[in-house]
């Protein structure tokens, strides 16, 4: 590829977020809904951890806003939650890098739970809170997926020479 280093980095990061967004709204049978992982959060946490100077709160906010538009939810709802995730991931990126994979996964679980609780809280304020406990299962599935997604994204980053 003849692209400059910067352009290639942007392209790869944007493509990974696009893939996460498509996976998020990909239709599945209704009963699988409560097991659908938070793809966007996973990809966001990875890039915040790997390139904290390039991807951060601003990126998280933009991707969250895209989610809001795609979902048709209140504008700013997911943007707020995703910028919180990005903030925490950038804040603790050095620790995260040092952690063994399973410990990273636990942190991912906590971050996604924080994300879900924030969204739920906002929905509750708007009077649209669901009356189920199912909102905790996506975070557990996200945790279980993290080690695999981490390896995939790391290989993409190394192969594409993104830094």
């Amino acid at each position: 590829m003849n692209l400059s280093h910067n352009a290639r980095r942007r392209l790869i990061i944007a493509a990974s977020f696009l893939a996460a967004l498509v996976l998020t709204i990909l239709p599945w049978p209704v009963w699988t809904e409560q097991f659908r992982p938070d793809w966007v959060a996973l990809v966001l946490i990875y890039w915040c951890m790997a390139l904290p100077t390039r991807v951060g709160v601003g990126t998280g906010w933009s991707v969250g806003l895209m989610l809001d538009v795609l979902y048709g939810s209140m504008l700013g709802e997911n943007a707020l939650a995703k910028s919180l995730i990005a903030f925490l991931a950038v804040r603790f990126h050095l620790q995260l890098r040092m952690f063994p994979r399973w410990q990273q996964a636990v942190v991912v679980l906590l971050l996604v739970i924080a994300n879900n609780l924030l969204v739920l809280w906002v929905k509750n304020l708007a009077g649209q809170a669901p009356s189920t406990w199912g909102y905790l299962t996506p975070s557990i599935v996200s945790m279980l997926l993290w080690p695999w997604l981490f390896v995939i994204l790391r290989d993409i980053r190394r192969h594409g020479n993104v830094s």
């Binding site: 696009l18 967004l21 498509v22 998020t24 709204i25 990909l26 239709p27 599945w28 209704v30 009963w31 809904e33 409560q34 659908r36 951060g56 709160v57 601003g58 998280g60 906010w61 969250g64 806003l65 895209m66 538009v69 795609l70 979902y71 048709g72 939810s73 209140m74 504008l75 700013g76 709802e77 943007a79 707020l80 910028s83 919180l84 990005a86 903030f87 950038v90 804040r91 906002v122 929905k123 708007a126 009077g127 649209q128 809170a129 669901p130 009356s131 189920t132 199912g134 909102y135 996506p138």
Partner: protein
């Protein structure tokens, strides 16, 4: 470090950025929730991101095409057979229905009341896209140019599915009656008892709230739209009562109902444009003249009646759905 006209400025810290973006989000939410100031921006963004939705809908389309390719012929023939046998039955029912509708309109005219009557209906395709977790929304492949409006009823062959919640240029979103933010005024078909059906977020239940233990409602009752609130036309099936729990500790019954419409099956829905059946002018005018003459006391005593829970709760619970559709008033 950034340098702007000789001044050295430090790049904003992580925390500063988070605070700024969080405030921005809160501002957006306030603007969006209170008064829908962002409708234009949202419409624009929806157009921008429509390709993502189309991309996500491809796998199901391709899967469907493959299935059709392998046993399309047989299933089509079977379907045609079924439709052919169904049609005479439906036509017979329709004959009776038209007579009853005419009689009903005549009776309403005698009473001097008006009701929302569905006049125009258009079949719309659904885009196979997953909704936000624990919300029940669908994306409709029609938009502003087809005349869709906010709060428009969405039905299918079996009953009411929901209503249009955002209108885009080419695509719109509809929230289903099972969405936790949705409420629809209903009445029991058997005896006209009025109630409100709230969505719960679960895919196949709505809950009926604010009915006391003495209410005449039992499992198996059909709930139809009552037309109160002005959003939905009267008389469309909404849900069937499934379970009633009478907990003496609670002031109201805990009633679970199952929607009649096939909320997660069909790929197509019907959009309807309800119109008010026209009133004779001489009936309407005296009432309008009388109103200001009425003593204040009478108006005041009337108010609580108009704001009794069944009529007012949909507006409180769901400001968006309960907004009266501008296009429907004659």
């Amino acid at each position: 470090m950034l340098q702007i006209s000789g001044w050295q400025i430090r790049a904003p810290s992580n925390l500063t950025r988070f605070v700024v973006f969080a405030l921005l989000s809160v501002g957006l939410m306030l603007l969006d929730a209170r008064g829908h100031h962002l409708q234009k921006i949202r419409t624009g963004l929806t157009v921008l991101f429509a390709p993502i939705q189309v991309l996500a809908a491809i796998p199901v389309r391709v899967g469907g095409a493959i299935v059709d390719f392998f046993h399309g012929d047989e299933s089509l023939r079977a379907e045609a057979e079924r439709l052919r046998s169904e049609q005479p039955i439906l036509l017979t029912r329709l004959q009776r229905y038209e007579a009853i509708e005419a009689e009903n309109a005549h009776l309403r005219q005698l009473l001097g009341t008006s009701a929302l009557v569905a006049e125009r209906a258009v079949v719309a395709e659904l885009l196979e896209v997953a909704s936000e977790p624990f919300r029940r929304t669908v994306v409709i492949a029609k938009g502003e140019k087809d005349g869709l409006y906010l709060g428009q009823p969405v039905v299918d062959a079996y009953g009411i599915r929901g209503q249009v919640s955002t209108v885009g240029v080419l695509q719109s979103t509809a929230i289903l009656i099972t969405d936790p933010g949705h409420a629809i005024p209903v009445q029991v078909n058997r005896n006209g008892l009025r109630a409100i059906a709230f969505g719960t977020g679960a895919p196949d239940t709505v809950s009926i709230r604010y009915l006391t233990a003495s209410s005449d409602i039992k499992p198996g009752d059909l709930l139809v739209s009552s037309g109160i609130g002005g959003g939905f036309p009267f008389g469309y099936p909404v849900a069937k009562v499934k379970k009633i729990v009478n907990d003496p500790n609670e002031s109201f019954l805990d009633i679970i109902a199952t929607p009649v419409a096939q909320l997660s099956h069909n790929r197509e829905v019907l959009l309807i444009w309800p119109t008010k059946s026209v009133l004779p002018a001489e009936v309407k005018k005296p009432a309008e003249i009388k109103k200001p003459v009425q003593p204040k006391k009478a108006v005041e005593t009337k108010k609580p009646v108009a704001a009794s829970p069944p009529a007012a709760a949909p507006q409180l619970a769901a400001p968006e759905p309960a907004r009266p559709a501008e296009g429907t008033t004659p």
